[in-house]
């Protein structure tokens, strides 16, 4: 049986680095020979199309709306990105019209969307032997994000050092991840470098966050200005694998792999 894992990458606030983490993790797993599917579920502000330009006519929106089949949706980027394993990508429609349509959906539609998402999970893990499905979500408590968390096996919460972000994440641990019985890990991103100049400081800070969230903190990633300056089309892990950001994410990928399903 394929022990594939579905990871929902989520956060309380926007701009924490979810998309950057999602696409780099997906690329790392694929470059290690794993079969990966990266799904853009940030339907209100899609951004993966800037990195994975595809000329397909079908979007995640169409699939959730029952207007296309999953195989119409999945684009294989393994050749283009030179990965050993398959790197399948499902993009959300970035047009204003599509975003307007998404915000008007009702509860019944969202319930069906969860069904569709669960059927996509089954197809990817069972029929296509995908090892990792990475769902890049919208921040906060939006339907699409909660659907993604409900469908996932693991929630990877990306949070920053910002006090309101930490407080919001603490709230979501109790009111969302715990209630949906999801295994959850936290990735602290954009930490000021001067706070983690040595291993002892890093350990102390990690323990502080562990007790604040009452969850395993998987790692602290410093804020790298040059990463933020990169063009959206750059996948750091593939193009600059020696960069500390890429190496940090390789370690995170290893830890996720060890934790398993």
């Amino acid at each position: 049986m394929n022990p594939g894992v579905v990871i929902a990458v989520h956060s309380y606030k926007g701009g924490t680095g979810k998309t950057l983490v999602s696409m780099n993790l997906a690329s790392i797993f694929a470059s290690q020979g794993k079969n990966v599917c990266l799904v853009d579920l940030d339907l209100r502000a899609p951004s993966l199309d800037a990195t994975f330009a595809a000329d397909g006519k079908h979007w995640v929106n169409d699939f959730l709306d029952d207007r296309c089949e999953p195989m119409d949706l999945l684009k294989d980027f393994s050749k283009k990105k030179g990965t050993k394993g398959r790197l399948l990508v499902a993009l959300a429609n970035p047009s204003m019209e599509a975003i307007r349509e998404v915000v008007t959906k009702d509860r019944k539609w969202e319930m069906r969307a969860l069904r569709r998402l669960l059927s996509l999970k089954e197809l990817l893990l069972k029929n296509l032997a995908v090892d990792y499905v990475i769902l890049d979500t919208s921040p906060g408590l939006l339907y699409a994000s909660i659907n993604a968390i409900a469908a996932a096996d693991l929630a990877l919460v990306v949070t920053t050092w910002d006090a309101s972000d930490v407080a919001g994440t603490q709230g979501m641990v109790g009111e969302l991840y715990d209630l949906l019985e999801k295994r959850t890990i936290v990735l602290m991103n954009k930490i000021p470098e001067q706070l983690i100049t040595n291993e002892e400081m890093r350990k102390r800070l990690t323990n502080q966050f562990k007790s604040a969230f009452k969850l395993p903190v998987i790692d602290l990633l410093p804020c790298y200005c040059d990463v933020l300056r990169q063009e959206r089309s750059t996948i750091m892990a593939l193009e600059k694998p020696e960069h500390p950001f890429s190496r940090g994410l390789v370690e995170i990928a290893q830890r996720i792999e060890k934790t398993g399903k």
């Binding site: 509860r107 019944k108 969202e110 319930m111 069906r112 969860l114 069904r115 669960l118 339907y143 909660i146 659907n147 409900a150 009111e175 969302l176 209630l179 949906l180 019985e181």
Partner: protein, 104 residues
Amino acid sequence: MEKTRAPKPTEVDGIGEVLDVMTLLSLPDHLRKSALTIVKLKKAMAEDVAKETGRARAIESAYLNQLVRMGYLKRVREGKRVYFWAEGPAKAAPSRVSGKGGTA
């Protein structure tokens, strides 16, 4: 001449409230567990849900029936078996579990 009796239509209970994720989050813990399991299994008997949740079948049956009364689940009897699911006609929701007998 022998009369042929038309098959009795299967009666479906449940008033069709929407069991979306926001509703799931607002349910009390004991009912949320059962409802989440039904979402995962698609269509299942109390026995199947009990296997997943680790609770007694009779307890699970009571919770599932409570969710039917609240309108969040639908219920249908097929012979001795009673199935629960969250939306759509019973026939359209294939079961992911292969139960052997048992009632709700």
